[in-house]
Symmetry: C2
Subunit: 336 residues, 2 copies
Amino acid sequence: MHIELDSPLDMHLHLRDGEMLATVAPLTSHSFSGAIIMPNLVPPVTTREEVLAYKERIRTAIGEDRFEPYMTLFFKPTYTREFLESVADEITAIKLYPAGITTNSEGGVSGFDIEELRETLGAMSDLGIPLCIHGETGGFVMDREAQFVPIYEKLATAFPDLKIIMEHITTKESVDALGRFENLYATITLHHLIITLDDVAGGMLRPHLFCKPIAKRPEDREALLRVALKAHPKVMFGSDSAPHPKESKECPGCAAGVFTAPIALQVLAELFEKHGAPVENLQKFVSGNAVNIYSVTPPAKKVVLVKKECTVPERYGSVVPMYAGEKIAYSIDKVE
Amino acid sequence: MHIELDSPLDMHLHLRDGEMLATVAPLTSHSFSGAIIMPNLVPPVTTREEVLAYKERIRTAIGEDRFEPYMTLFFKPTYTREFLESVADEITAIKLYPAGITTNSEGGVSGFDIEELRETLGAMSDLGIPLCIHGETGGFVMDREAQFVPIYEKLATAFPDLKIIMEHITTKESVDALGRFENLYATITLHHLIITLDDVAGGMLRPHLFCKPIAKRPEDREALLRVALKAHPKVMFGSDSAPHPKESKECPGCAAGVFTAPIALQVLAELFEKHGAPVENLQKFVSGNAVNIYSVTPPAKKVVLVKKECTVPERYGSVVPMYAGEKIAYSIDKVE
């Protein structure tokens, strides 16, 4: 039994910089055709020069792989139309972080006043630049995403031609919002299709499964699975694969992020099979829907997965992946 | 400003055994007059001989301190009336763990069939032995305690003269149950009066605040605070102080338990003061209510707390306490 996937895309990826970039970038560029690259470096990516320089560092890290890094800017409400026009050709999207909500998001947005956002979002809408949002409020950890839905709705209503991507959604409420606004889309991670808070904190506490947004309730996971498995045309795979060194995960104050890049396609294949979803749906979830939503033309790449058990490495460099040391059912046979 | 507390009691305490017992027992016996000692050793304490031997090891560990270890048995539905009569003088309570629900609870109860429990619970009721319960189901981690309330109610109804202590309650639902059944009581920990899931997993993940039951929502903490601060006559302080070596907390699968024994009275004094609750209420919460509920006569001990800032040690032996390295407002001035 084998599965062929054409030009898989990861529509939400953290590559970091420096040594970490060198470690993790090839793990994605090997099996994916492209990825939306998150801009939350320290300092964040906010200028044309920084976009170009970061893209160059990524290209160096991935070497010869056929892979397109879809670059993003870190959203600032001070971006002018003129600035956006000057950078539009170099970016695929702009990522908005509410201030302080996740790793390296200190400089994010702290209010969502439409008038304050009008110039920037209006220009993005006109220029066809999608807005990716980490949608969480500063509320109670299990409620943050659901509490953010009214903000998504406010933005979607005020800017009906702006494509708004609800990033790494984890709740039934976000899934429901997809159906209410034509211009709302979503990415879903691998881990949120698999785990709930029970896996993070229901037995032993498992820091390598700790992420933001935190994994939610079983009924939330079911809602995510439902739209992913049927390849709802408004949802895309975005791993949110987020590498942290082992010592930043196994410590008194553990960083948020699950590292799934090197195993994502294999585990997705297993998951879709387990739930009886057709391979065409997996193809749409990991590529076709994103191609339509973002109007991108990824490099041609065929990834052949075979049902052959393999053991996930304990580490990639300093990073512990999801399923470290465990067996998974699919392996990557070849990439053409 | 100073506060005098007479014969403070910790009605839910883990002392472990061996080296850990030697490290932690004196930290409680210094400032408390007595404590209910949990029986979940490996193997658990289930015989008269084991109770006596464990008590002797505790006495050795605490040395000269005036301190009463109130011993418990690990509940088994096979305990006969005859057995319970033979052991009644040596124990203060029996602790029931649903199977597999927390540290060293593998041999616990897996069904709550009243008829299967009738001989044991009937005899306990007749002999005046309170039943302490870790009340969680195997459900979703945030729902487990609320889901257990109907089991508390079933037991309280079937054995109306049995004193049932809902241990370390964490939810509004458990607080509400207190008022519905005359024979239901509760212990409340220090940490559940202070933290919510936000403190465990809302920012960085903090394994030293990870415990079972897991800290819940803000409205749950408010409900606990309400009954603790007014010293509701059916609630008692029980720290559930649970020592684990640092390496078992900062690792891929972190053990559940917060270590608060050496700072509990100081932080409770600060908490009651902060909320404007009178010292008499603190006295009842940490001693008087337990004396009434358990009909015990603890050794005389006066603990004098002064409002003098001190820094909590980073470690006690291998154990990282709550507030490690942080400042707390009260210190123990003397113990008489």
